[in-house]
């Protein structure tokens, strides 16, 4: 391979070795600084021993202690996690069913159906938030239920926007499925349910896990739609942070944000890792 030789040759920069050009590297560096500097500063200064965010005064965990002692913040955090757990379960089931449906069946108005399923992904969040607000107030959804039932409106709204995402992820996984496997199982006398339980679900598992993690992060992250469906007693973590940020910029918010960032980073890396495994699997089966 000519190209491989060009790439191994460290001396002069070849015409196509754009990444080795200084100005390209500078652009790359500048972009990553732009993307990461704010987050890194936020994380770093959550450990800073000073109220004013700007000067480093030494390492301290006191803002984490303060955040932990802030009942409102903790309550919002618990609410967010509760909503995320419940909605992830529902969204994963609904998303998996949608993926199976679109993967397996030919039916009238299939194109329209797929389009409708993509709507929650494409329409602006604000429109969806407004729709949820109008819907729940119109049907008179009770707002004075005890915890955790009072989170039901937010949970429902979250399922509505996240299950189509799960469907996309699971469907991508199903594309690699060899239909002969399920046919063979059926020929050997398996019922539909047995094929589903013993062939389809094991095959879909990496997709299901990746989709569930995606749904979980989407739910934890959502501000706009939650903002329109939450009431004074049902504050989620982003809504709480929003009200704190509007008020002032404090290291306490930095500490709370850092915890959430750490959680999402771990979940993302896990989801990406599972997804790459999910993509590799069918080839392994074929080979």
């Amino acid at each position: 391979m000519n190209l491989a030789k060009v790439f191994r040759n460290r001396e002069p920069i070849g015409p196509l070795e754009y990444t080795r050009r200084t100005w390209m590297r500078l652009t790359l560096l500048a972009t990553f600084v732009f993307l990461y500097a704010p987050i890194v500063t936020l994380v770093a200064f959550s450990f800073n021993d000073s109220r004013r965010n700007i000067v480093w005064r030494g390492f301290s965990l006191k803002y984490y202690e303060q955040a932990l002692a802030n009942d409102g913040l903790i309550e919002a955090f618990v609410n967010s996690l509760t909503i995320a757990f419940v909605q992830t379960i529902i969204a994963t089931i609904l998303g998996a069913l949608t993926a199976l449906l679109l993967w397996r069946f030919r039916f009238p108005f299939r194109g329209g159906y797929e389009g409708a399923m993509a709507l929650p992904i494409v329409i602006p969040e604000i429109c969806m938030g407004v729709a949820m607000l109008a819907f729940f107030s119109r049907i008179g959804w009770p707002t004075d239920l005890p915890w955790p039932l009072n989170l039901s409106a937010i949970t429902i709204a979250h399922v509505s926007f996240s299950f189509p995402f799960v469907a996309v992820v699971v469907r991508a996984r199903l594309e690699g499925f060899n239909r002969e496997l399920s046919e063979a199982a059926q020929d050997l006398g398996a019922t539909e349910w047995q094929v589903f339980r013993d062939v389809m679900v094991p095959f879909m598992r990496p997709g299901l896990v990746a989709g569930a993690l995606l749904a979980f992060t989407l739910s934890l992250d959502d501000f706009v739609i939650t903002f329109f469906t939450s009431g004074p007693d049902t504050v989620t973590f982003p809504v709480k942070v929003y009200s704190m940020v509007r008020f002032s910029v404090t290291p306490e918010v930095n500490a709370a944000s850092t915890v959430l960032i750490a959680m999402t980073v771990v979940l993302t890396v896990l989801a990406l890792w599972l997804q790459s495994r999910a993509k590799l699997k069918p080839e392994e089966v074929a080979g």
Binding site: F34, I39, P124, F135, D221, L260
Partner: protein, 306 residues
């Protein structure tokens, strides 16, 4: 794929739960807003559906047209800036060594999995008057003065007596910076996907035939990356157009976008019918942008097939 009539029971068991959910908890709420947009306020809270178009007429008021214009402008600027910055980045990732490529890609993907609110908040801490951007500028200003003093040009004379921190927050440029910051990965990823598929021998051929790097870029790379440019453009433009949080937290009073006006109708002004009409106008703009992409894609496919 099999016909649904072969196993109707399985078909209904798989299709009913998600379909019912979508209809009850998504399509009906949307329809409700749509119907509401043809209604009038009756008293303080009640809404009467009268079939009036007054809400849409009111949206044509210069005051609101300006907000629409501004939103389109912000989204447009965001798209162009993301493209100009994102293109070299995507190119650099594609041509990076195989060891670096997944790492660089992960670095692009990670921030957009971080909470949007937290990222916007982080940006406030950087851009505010006593923030890091000004802090760095002040440091540069001090260093500049030291150098000037060393050169014998006098300390604190050429650059002024005192460092004046820049007002980087609560204006239009803050909103655009914030939108670019938030949406950049949406541009880089499709560009990367398009450039990765690009046949490198085409660039080599162009260079061998005497084209300059710049000409090869304009006449070979850009046209071949066009599907990625369009996808990335739409993926940035649509969410940027409907963004609420960025202009809300980073913008000033004159840099509010459509979503902020919609929010005010529902939360502050309590004029739900008008807010509903604005939401649907925003949705129609979104669909228009999607249609443009579908049309361009179809044309590209036809050309590719010919």
């Amino acid at each position: 794929m099999e016909d649904w009539r072969r196993t109707p029971l399985v078909f209904w068991v798989t299709s009913l739960p998600p379909s019912l959910w979508l209809i009850v908890f998504f399509l009906i709420p949307l329809a409700l807003v749509w119907v509401m947009s043809f209604g009038e306020l009756d008293g303080l809270v009640d809404i009467k559906i009268t079939g009036t178009l007054a809400n849409y007429e009111r949206a044509l008021d210069p005051l609101y047209l300006e907000v629409f214009g501004k939103s389109l402008l912000f989204a447009g600027f965001t798209t162009v800036i993301s493209l100009v910055v994102g293109f070299p980045v995507a190119l650099a990732i594609v041509f990076a060594s195989p060891r670096w490529r997944p790492i660089l890609l992960l670095l692009v993907i990670l921030p957009f999995w971080t909470n949007l609110l937290i990222r916007t908040y982080a940006l406030i801490a950087v851009l505010r008057v006593r923030g890091f951007a000004n802090f760095s500028l002040e440091w540069l200003w001090d260093q500049g003065n030291t150098v000037l003093a060393l050169l014998g040009l006098g300390s604190y004379q050429l650059l002024g007596e005192r460092f004046e921190p820049l007002e980087l927050l609560y204006n239009n440029s803050a909103v655009v910076i914030g939108l670019v910051y938030v949406h950049m990965p949406f541009m880089i990823l499709p560009l990367y996907a398009a450039l990765e598929r690009l046949d490198r021998s085409l660039i080599e051929a162009a260079l061998d035939l005497g084209a300059s790097q710049f000409r090869a870029f304009l006449t070979v790379v850009v046209p071949l990356a066009l599907p990625g440019i369009i996808s990335g453009g739409i993926l940035v433009f649509i969410p940027a157009l409907g963004s609420f949080l960025t202009p809300d937290l980073l913008g000033g009073t004159d840099s509010q976008m459509i979503a902020n006006v919609i929010e005010r109708q529902f939360k502050g002004a309590n004029d739900w019918p008008f807010g509903a009409a604005l939401s649907f106008l925003l949705m129609y703009l979104t669909f228009a942008a999607l249609t443009v992409r579908a049309l361009v894609n179809r044309r590209a496919e036809r050309r590719g097939g010919a």
